[in-house]
């Protein structure tokens, strides 16, 4: 039963893909149609993504698929542009090349109004919460509802209290953001991110700087919200343990490319020396301990002569 349903859905989507694509020319149509068939259940498809910021290449041909209903972890060392990737998906940055399809809409090409409509269906949890500091917890969560819906205040109140209950902070609704601990701030921000019942939530380093208890709370929240609300979640992180614990699929990024991808177990067995170094946190390996320099003896001898 469910299989046949899926088939119908799949054909429907394939049709749509082809209809959109035909205007782009014959070759492209075949390419994109193939892609659509291949990744039937992915919500986000990133193809051949190139992005450079002030001559520094951040992405150099990245392909990523994010499965519907799953939790996808994107990991890599600091400075590999993990946050940049989220901003590209959210349309805050424009790639130099490549396509980012979110629910079959090419984000970089979307006009402003359509982009804003799409963003209403995306939730994002920022690294430090990014709560609006001039309003309290309640108003922060009510903010997107008040901006985008014409619901009555009583209905908004019910919704806000529901979201707060989901993150366990119903009692904190009158606090100001400055009175919250880091972990609580992130939970409030999470409640805000899901206020409009989005199709997906992006988490930017949700575990960084959290004590073990808050980490545990967040891990549980992300998993339970994802399953209960039927969300698609993307977690950008370099916390291996927590991410591996909840992610259904993991991409490892380094040097502007996808180094490895697979389930947590598959990555653990990965042949890639780089992946092994990253996952086990070894000091030396493909990523050297030393910043590139000439030999130590040369440097020491030379410094005596110069100064």
């Amino acid at each position: 039963m469910s299989g046949s349903c899926k088939m119908e859905l799949a054909t429907g989507r394939r049709m749509r893909g082809i209809v959109i694509i035909t205007s782009l020319g014959h070759n492209a149509a075949i390419f994109f149609a193939a892609v659509t068939i291949m990744n039937e259940s992915s919500l986000i498809q990133i193809r051949d993504l190139h992005f450079a910021h002030k001559q520094r290449v951040v992405f150099d041909g990245v392909d990523i698929d994010i499965q519907r209903g799953g939790i996808t972890g994107i990991m890599g060392p600091s400075g590999t542009g993990k946050t940049t990737l989220l901003r590209l998906i959210g349309g805050q940055l424009k790639p130099t090349r490549g396509s980012i399809l979110v629910d079959d809409e090419n984000v970089p090409r979307l006009p402003r109004a359509a982009l804003y409509r799409l963003r209403q269906r995306m939730g994002m949890l920022f690294q430090n919460g990014a709560l609006l500091t001039d309003m309290n917890v309640y108003d922060n969560i009510a903010y997107p509802l008040r901006e985008h819906t014409r619901l009555s205040e009583t209905l908004i109140r019910t919704l806000v209290l529901m979201k707060l209950e989901a993150v366990g902070l119903r009692g904190a609704r009158d606090l100001m953001p400055s009175e919250l601990s880091g972990g609580m701030g992130r939970r409030v921000a999470l409640a805000r991110a899901i206020a409009l019942d989005p199709m997906m939530v992006m988490y930017d380093e949700p575990f960084t700087g959290q004590d073990p208890i808050s980490k545990g709370v967040l891990v549980r929240l992300i998993r339970s919200l994802n399953d209960a609300l039927g969300l698609t979640s993307i977690i950008v992180s370099h916390d291996i343990e927590e991410t591996c614990a909840i992610a259904d699929y993991i991409y490892l990024l380094s040097g502007g490319k996808v180094v490895a991808h697979g389930t947590a177990q598959a990555l653990g067995r990965s042949e890639s020396a780089w992946a092994q170094q990253f996952l086990h946190g070894e000091a030396d390996g493909p990523v050297p301990f030393h910043y590139p320099a000439n030999t130590f003896t040369d440097d020491v001898m030379q410094s005596g002569n110069v100064s």
């Binding site: 959210g90 805050q92 995306m122 997107p144």
Partner: protein, 259 residues
């Protein structure tokens, strides 16, 4: 030599780039102004932050500037036997020049720097980014109300400054130095023109209000999102706003009062 030229070119390009970004932002803000109508509380709140909180410094400075004008003016005019013209001198200096200019400078220091710091911090703590991701345009919700509040507040503050200054001059001239009360006001009324002087003063302060708030809002929005970047942007707001006000004042004065 070539290095110096390169530096000059770099600075020039940088300047024009920033000017361009500033202009685009201003356009974007003006575009967003109509959307403020149904959100009056936002505007009122910002008018409070920008205008009401600047009130004290404006009143106190206005009073002292007026008193100093009274004292200096009296000492100068009494030598020519024209102490009765004190009112004229105080009023014209305040209404044409000191009112708009000093208010704009104080406004840049008090409200402008606060605006830049606030917006810069909102950027540094990703609040602006978060708004964008919530499909809310921060230019419309954050910058536009602040800009409009500044533009509204500035002429009102300048008028308060001038009025208090005239009273301060009256207090010193008439109260302490014994200039005739009737002469103070009559001479003033005879020589200060509503259109030539008062209206032009209001226009000046309106222009300054636009420029100072624009610079403040732009610097905050364009700040490097770190604590250092925000503090630099705040300093830049005060410096650039002061320079812009004084430069524009010369141009406006030449246009308005140059015969």
């Amino acid at each position: 030599m070539l290095g110096a030229l390169q530096l000059l070119g770099q600075k020039g390009l940088d300047f024009f780039q920033r000017l361009g970004r500033g202009n685009i932002l201003l356009l974007h803000i003006v575009e967003g102004l109509p959307s403020l109508l149904p959100r009056l509380p936002l505007l009122i709140r910002q008018t409070y932050m920008v205008g009401v909180l600047s009130l004290l410094i404006i009143v106190v400075s206005g009073l002292f500037v007026g008193m100093v004008l009274g004292l200096q003016g009296y000492n100068t005019l009494v030598d020519f036997g024209a102490a009765e013209s004190l009112g004229t001198m105080v009023a014209l200096s305040l209404v044409r020049e000191l009112g708009p200019v000093v208010t704009a400078l104080l406004f840049a220091g008090r409200a402008g720097s606060a605006l830049t710091a606030e917006i810069g911090l909102m950027k540094a703590t990703e609040q602006l980014s978060a708004m964008e991701m919530m499909a809310v345009d921060p230019v419309r919700r954050v910058l536009a109300p602040r800009f409009l509040a500044g533009v509204i507040s500035m002429p009102l503050l300048a008028a308060i400054f001038s009025a208090i200054g005239v009273l301060g001059g009256w207090f010193v001239g008439v109260g302490l130095l014994g200039v005739d009360d009737g002469a103070y006001w009559m001479q003033m009324q005879d020589h200060v023109d509503v259109y030539d002087d008062i209206m032009n003063g209001v226009i000046k302060s309106l222009v300054f209000g636009v420029v100072v708030t624009w610079i403040a809002v732009f610097e905050g929005y364009d700040a490097v999102p770190t604590s250092e970047g925000v503090s630099r942007a705040t300093t830049r707001t005060v410096v650039h706003a002061a320079l812009a006000v004084l430069g524009l004042d010369f141009i406006l004065t030449a246009l308005m009062f140059g015969d």
